[in-house]
Structures are given as C-alpha cells and as structure tokens.
Symmetry: C2
Subunit: 340 residues, 2 copies
Amino acid sequence: MSRPKRATIVDVARMAEVSAKTVSRVVNNEPHVTEAVKTRVREAMRALRYHPNVAAQGLVRSRSYLIGLVYEKPSPSYVVELQKGALERLHGERFRLVVLPVESVTEREDEIIALLRSAALDAVLLAPPASDHAGLMAELREAGMPFARISPTRLLGNGPSVAMDDVAAAQEAAEHIVSLGHKRIGVIKGDPSHAASDARLVGTMQALAKAGITLHPELIESGLFTFDSGLAAARRLLALDPPPTAILAQNDDMAAATVAAARECGLHVPEDLSVVGFDDSDISRVVWPPLTTIRQPVEDMAYRAMDMLLHVLKGEPEGGDIHLAHELLIRRSTAPPRAG
Amino acid sequence: MSRPKRATIVDVARMAEVSAKTVSRVVNNEPHVTEAVKTRVREAMRALRYHPNVAAQGLVRSRSYLIGLVYEKPSPSYVVELQKGALERLHGERFRLVVLPVESVTEREDEIIALLRSAALDAVLLAPPASDHAGLMAELREAGMPFARISPTRLLGNGPSVAMDDVAAAQEAAEHIVSLGHKRIGVIKGDPSHAASDARLVGTMQALAKAGITLHPELIESGLFTFDSGLAAARRLLALDPPPTAILAQNDDMAAATVAAARECGLHVPEDLSVVGFDDSDISRVVWPPLTTIRQPVEDMAYRAMDMLLHVLKGEPEGGDIHLAHELLIRRSTAPPRAG
DNA sequence: CCTCGTGGTGGGAACGTTTCCCTGATCCTA
DNA sequence: TAGGATCAGGGAAACGTTCCCACCACGAGG
C-alpha cells in the first residue's frame, strides 16, 4: 500500500506492443532487435519509469550484484582509503559494495563464513588480516565465491592479490633513520594477528643489522594499529633509560600517538625524538609535524584488487599477484639526534 | 561449473521427508511445526549446508534486505563514525549496508535518484547534506522508500530524524572562548552546501553579540570541512593584521589544519592561538594539543537513525525528530590570550 | 519453384522462495 | 459422545526476470 506498484517488464511490453522477451533484449543491449522497436520500448520504459527488478534478475542469473569488503577494525584512515579505492572502480558498474567489518577473523572464522555464505555475495575483497587467512580462502574456493586479496603477505599464487613489499619498505624506513645518525631506535609493532607486522619487523631488523645496530628486546613494543595502543606503547618506550632517540611505528596512527606521547613528556619532535610512520594515511599530514612515512598506496591497491575481481566476474581468467611500489616520504618528523 | 549447485529448500524437504512449506516455516521460525520435525529439518539443513536464497526471498517478499547509506564526501572521520553506528545497529539483523557516497546531491539529483531507484534498496539513511534535500525526500516518498535523516537542519516533522542543536552548540563553543577573554575571534565555516554551516555560524554570532563583540566579515573564512580547505582558510586568517587570538573551526579536520597553520607561522597553540573544533572525531585526540571541541555523537546518531529505520521496515509507525545532546569538551587547545 | 539459412519475434518453462487456501487429525468442553 | 476449535502439514500459484526453443518472413542459391 505505501509501496506503489512498480512497473514490470510486461507493463512495458504491453505498452510498446512487443513481447516481454523483446523488452528484456533491449534492456540488456542484446542484438536481434530492430531500431524502431528499440526506440518504442525505450519510450515505454521512460513513460512507466521502469527499472528492472534486481531480485528477479538475480534469481534467474544467480547473481546478486553485491561485492563484499571484509576488513577487521584497523585504523579509520585505512578503512576510508580502502573503500574509496574499491568504490572508485565500481563507479559505473552494476555492482554495489557491502561493507563487512568483522570482529576477529581468527577467532570467529565460522561466523564469518556463515555470514559470507548467507549474504549472497558475488565476490569478496579481503583486506588484512583476512587476506592471510588460509581457512577462509579455502572455504571461499569451496563455495565457488571469487575473491581478491589486498596486502597478503603469505600464500601467494593463490588467486588475485595486490600487495607491496613490506620488508623492503620497513628496511628503507630504518635505513633513513640510521643514516641520520640514530643509534638507539625503538619500534612499535602493529597488531600481531596481521602478518604485515612481522614482515615489517623483519625489514627493520635487517636494516639495523646491516648497520651494526642491535635491537634490544626492550626497544620493541607491540600495539594494535590504533592510536590508543600506540600511545601506551610509546609511553613505555619513552620511559626507558635512556629513551630512544627515534621510534619506528608500524602505521601512522601509532606514529601520531608517539608524537603525542613525546609532547606529554615535554619532548620536541623531531629535535628530541624522530618518528616514522607507515601508510601515508591522512593522519600523517594532519598532525604536526607532518610525519615521515612510507607511502602505501592503499587506495590504488583496493582499486586494482576490485578491478581484478570484476575481471573474474566477467568470466576472464584469474589474475595473479600484483606488486605496487612503495615510497619513503621524508617530511618533518625526522631529524638527526641532538649532538652529544 | 565453478559455482557448485547450492542446496535448495526442496532438497532439504526431501531429506527431512517433509514438504518445502514446512521447511520454510522452520527457517522463518513460524509456528505449526512439531519439535521433532523441527530438529529433523534443522539437521537436514546443516547436512546440506543449506542457506536460503536471498534473491528468491526478496523476489516474493519484495524485499532486498539492503539499506543504503548516502553521504557526500565529508571528512573521513565522520564517515567512519557514521558507518560504525549504522553497522552496530544492523548487527544480528538480516539487513546489510550498502555505501553510497555521492558527488554532489544538489548538482546531480537525477543521477542519485536513478541510483536509488535502480539499486533496489529497502530503505536509505541520509547523512548531511542529503538529509536537507527536499527534492530527494519527495522522490523517496513517491517511490515509497522509507528513509531516516541524520543531522537535518531544516524541514523537520518530515519523517524520522536524529539531530543535535547546532546553534546552541556553536553558541556554547563561542561562549567558552569569550569567557577566556578573547576579543578578536576568527571563524572557519564549513561547506556552504551543508545547512549546518549556517546554523553554526548563527550560534557563534549570537554568543559574540551577547558579549558585545562584533565579528568583522574579514574574520569569517569558508572551508569545505576538509583538512586542506581548512589549512587555506586558517592561513588567510593568520595573515590578518592583527591576527585573531582564537579561531573557531566548524569541524575537527579544519581545526587540526588550523593548528598546523599556526605551527607553520611559529605560533604555539594554545599560548598564541586558541583553536576550537567541532564533532569530537578521532582526529581531535590524535593531534597535539588535543582539541577543545563539541562532542557531536555521530555514532549514536547513526545508530538511532538506523534503529528508527528498522522500526519502519517492521511496519511500526514512523518515529519523529529525535534530539541528542551535545557537550563541550574542553581539552588543551584553548587558553586565555597572552596578556597584553 | 523449392529449399536452406538467417535476422527478428514470441511462447513457455525455469529460477527458489513464500503465501493463500485447503484437508485431516487431535483436543477440549459440555 | 458430539461439536467446534486448534493444530500440523500439503498443493499450487505467484513474484519478475531470463533462456531455450520454435516460429515466421524473406532473400539467395540450386
């Protein structure tokens, strides 16, 4: 009653004096229709404000035209860029994006799989850490649901994925700090359930080892990629005696927290403490000083991953693992340590 | 082929030795089924990994179980909170959230309406500035698509909505600054296409007028609710002679930009310049010093709006306009002006 | 003149559910 | 023990589209 009856394909067919089948052909741009008939049908469609019923289409084509985006509560800025890239690619396509933030991929695997199974998605985009979860991928394969992965660090050659080289990037960041003359360097790791955290730590340690610097365990703190977790970790590092002269945080949110923690202690960045972030998310330019960071092209990665997914959905062969370049952005949060 | 045939309701019916109708009743928790039959059916469902086909359900019930969230590129932190609140309420419901960021509601109204018509949504949540767009609302009413509005400033009594009092909030912020002793006060307005920008300006002017302070036009700059636009606006204000001793920004992103601009000029916040934000988004705690701001409960608002929408979808009568309280959070970005 | 393809068109089944309308069986009460 | 009420369950139609197949006219080639 409140919902006025929408025009159906047969209404259009009746008005244009053709069969429903023919209308369907016009709607889907199929051949075998005279130009004259085509225009007649188009007019009827406009007159009746006809829009095809997606549910009915989906039923017969077994397509829902929905693509899911699975991610696990990482930093807000990361989520936004992820969505931006995915939506950008989806613009103009019939597919729509359903957001599926999950609590914990590892702990509630069954729940997530049930969600995906019942959500009638055509495909899913897996952001970290779901993109490294073997069980989830196996289930998706079995269910015949195409997926693409963003920033996987393991199990490559397992369907389309877009990633960057976390090890090399972290190495580059550490080399920058070393080249400035820092010797006592702290690290704030990301969420342990993200494989990227380990990869980045490996890169950092390689660079430090090459420079002959040993990284004492007390200088490695763990966070969860969130501002608050970073704040706590940074406070612990700055309470050491002597405190580090530089801190490498594994994402920008935690790097921003490190800057805040330094301020609390009356320290100036970068004069008293150099801080390096990771991601080049919005936050790295929002805080003062703007953060030296690794540009991780999250938006591009999401765009490319979505692109590969659409290819698969169009029946083309699956793509492989794509690699995108990172970049060290030197801004104002790093400087040589105070002399002495 | 790639997509293994999913079990249908008749497969389950055959296995459990009942009719399809009975299985349907079990699935939907309807009465008139013996406990014994129920368990038999449930077992068959599990064995066959049966999940109802959403498209088929949607077809016959004319429901898509999709709810759209329409917003227009505001600050990232706002978007994230919006989504968080909406998703929070959706947890455990059958409905899924489709994100629909749009370019410009006013400029491309037709496009948006076409999008909504063809997207087969059951309902939409309208965030600003779409929530103030009369044409859009009229179309939605005509199409029989329920909607709820977040932070509308006009056209109340027009269906469910959740808002806060922008005028009063801005007034309170200005009073705080006045009470600290500031006389020369700058304002950075938000996006002119958002009605909230005007409302907040009104509140600010009322407070200043009451204190006998006149706000010269040169002290009012306009931004777009983004960091970059705020940076430009703040630079213009700080280039005035004499510069303001306090700046009221209409959201946190622009307030953060103001802090950055001040730093560029070698000014210290809050000693040389007080800055007030608006929203209490993540960014207000991420920057240093943490911003004095107005807490706008965006997440709660989205939650409540979604709640009202679900009520409507369940056939209950439409709710009215709900008002949520704001709160002035005094943090470390405001202080009395320097003596002299 | 008859066949054979071919481009345009329509008829009818199918997709997987729910819902309307039944039929029996069981139960309670007078 | 009869009467109605309640309950468990089933058959068939409906939702709006696409797809397989058949049909028709028409021109070319034999």
